[in-house]
Symmetry: C2
Subunit: 319 residues, 2 copies
């Protein structure tokens, strides 16, 4: 396998990570990759152990003003409403249908569960994948007026590719639904379905009267792959500890801690959203993607904090 | 990637699958691999979709006289017994300690659960992996007097390698415990931890007082990856339908049905244990690895049935 294009210590040529400004973040990435790929070096890591994990919402694609999968769920409720006249008087559906997204979001898990149940369950996995793909093809982001899967971060696409060229296996480890992400992740990020770890619901195998089997999505949640659920998801699905972890919120804190606690070279990074002009600026008090304790620990332990405004030449891919 | 070494229709040279006798089973394998790898052919399958799934117990390694993981659990109970004097009078531990394996096995799930709880939970994932590795290094099979992980099938090792050379990604999909298999599968089969699907227990992330995080195995079962649980495990972990499935018992029936129900070329195979001299002969009435309904369906639908006695030149690897 051709190694990445590296010059001397922490210095890459202009073709490496072209959407990243020269600076401490890019230097730290390039130095880490050089360390683990240099044969004979004490920091060398065999390719099989080069496991890199990435959060999705706010790390690989945007997450404001609401998680994109929430936008999908809300649009699904609206599309299904004509067949559910009872929703007009039932919370949280009445709030959603009257456009009061704020009231719905304020209802927390109690409001979210019935919405997940009707929009993400009671159908086969194939039917769900089609609904998600159709939505991605037609829905537009309220601010950028683009399909949601175009609001991915160009510098992160380059990083994924750079790591794979250096023999890494790249995984998503996200609080998002695993079946939702699998619809677009392979084409968008080059990450195949079997390298996606996410929140999972229970599935039921059913043999149809026609002899055709189906897998039906049930409303019961199996794993919430967020916070302490992330190391659990990593162990369950991947079965070994990553050497690189990249997140952007306190939901990634335990994944970063779990990665940091391994032996040998490690790379922990946080994307700090600091760019209200090109994207969004938020951290300690945000309702979406709150970044507080993980930022303190990153600063205290010298993890790489990527400052979007400072470190990225470009945020989204060119049209 | 170098393709497999293929001659004309269904005919391989002598270097291909050398432990397989020339015959319908080997021919069917070689023909299928040629079909899906021939660029431009209507049966061509892109490499990313070449997903092959294998049962483990009785398909990649032996499973008689009892599942090897049961032997591990029983040995663990015996090793832990000095610290548990109460087990002398408590079922099922008293049966195990007095050597009455038959009574323990007859107690079914009711007897198994407390044994799993004490031997597979209440420790960190690292501690469990060490216990399993230590056992594999020291335990010997009662009939063959060899380490259990040497009782793998040479023809299947060749098949795994043959498929990988043809661009397949090989997965284990087993009722066995995922953490148990991960201890030996990479070295033994060339299948990395992240390509192992198995039964899973719940895990808990705990931050130690020393700031070191750990994952603790809990006694609650999360997924029993057997029978209808196998398609569920495939969807949850892999996220796409295999084009090749290989099993040996009714526990693999639904996995074979799920694989068969996809579109495009498919290959479904069952290993029939017919060789009491070199290994074991069992099927419809066996307590371990019962093969009955899946054998009927295989015969009715023309799935490949591998007859161990007829089709395999060698069963286990050379010393």
């Amino acid at each position: 396998m051709a190694g990445p294009n590296l010059l001397s210590d922490g210095v890459a040529d202009a073709q490496t990570l072209p959407s990243w400004n020269e600076g401490p973040a890019k230097q730290a990435i390039v130095r880490f990759v050089r360390d683990v790929t240099t044969a004979g070096s004490p920091t060398f890591v065999p390719p099989a152990e080069r496991i890199a994990v990435f959060d999705n919402d706010g790390t690989l694609w945007a997450e404001q003003p609401i998680y994109f999968q929430f936008a999908f769920a809300l649009d699904r409720v609206k599309a299904m409403a004509p067949a559910h006249s009872e929703w007009k008087t039932t919370a949280p559906f009445n709030a959603i249908l009257s456009g009061d997204t704020k009231a719905f979001l304020a209802s927390g898990e109690k409001g979210l569960m019935p919405v997940i149940a009707v929009t993400h369950a009671g159908m086969t996995t194939d039917e769900f994948a089609k609904a998600a793909a159709d939505w991605l093809a037609s829905a537009r982001h309220p601010r950028f007026k683009k399909p949601y899967n175009e609001l991915v971060y160009q510098p992160m696409l380059e990083l994924l590719e750079y790591l794979r060229a250096a023999g890494f296996k790249t995984f998503i480890v996200s609080g998002g639904g695993i079946e939702f992400m699998r619809v677009f992740a392979e084409k968008t990020y080059g990450i195949p379905p079997e390298q996606i770890v996410g929140s999972t619901g229970q599935l039921e195998f059913r043999m149809g009267a026609d002899g055709k089997p189906a897998l039906v999505k049930l409303p019961q949640i199996d794993l919430v792959d967020d916070h302490a659920g992330k190391p659990v998801g990593i162990q369950r699905f991947i079965g070994r500890r990553p050497i690189l972890a990249f997140g952007n919120s306190d939901g990634d804190h335990e994944m970063l801690q779990w990665t940091a606690a391994g032996t040998g070279p490690r790379f922990m990074a946080i994307l700090h959203h600091t760019d209200a002009d090109r994207e969004y600026a938020y951290d300690r008090t945000s309702h979406v993607g709150k970044l507080d304790k993980a930022l303190d620990e990153a600063n205290a332990r010298g993890w790489t904090v990527v400052d979007m405004k400072r470190d990225w030449i470009r945020v989204f891919p060119r049209e």
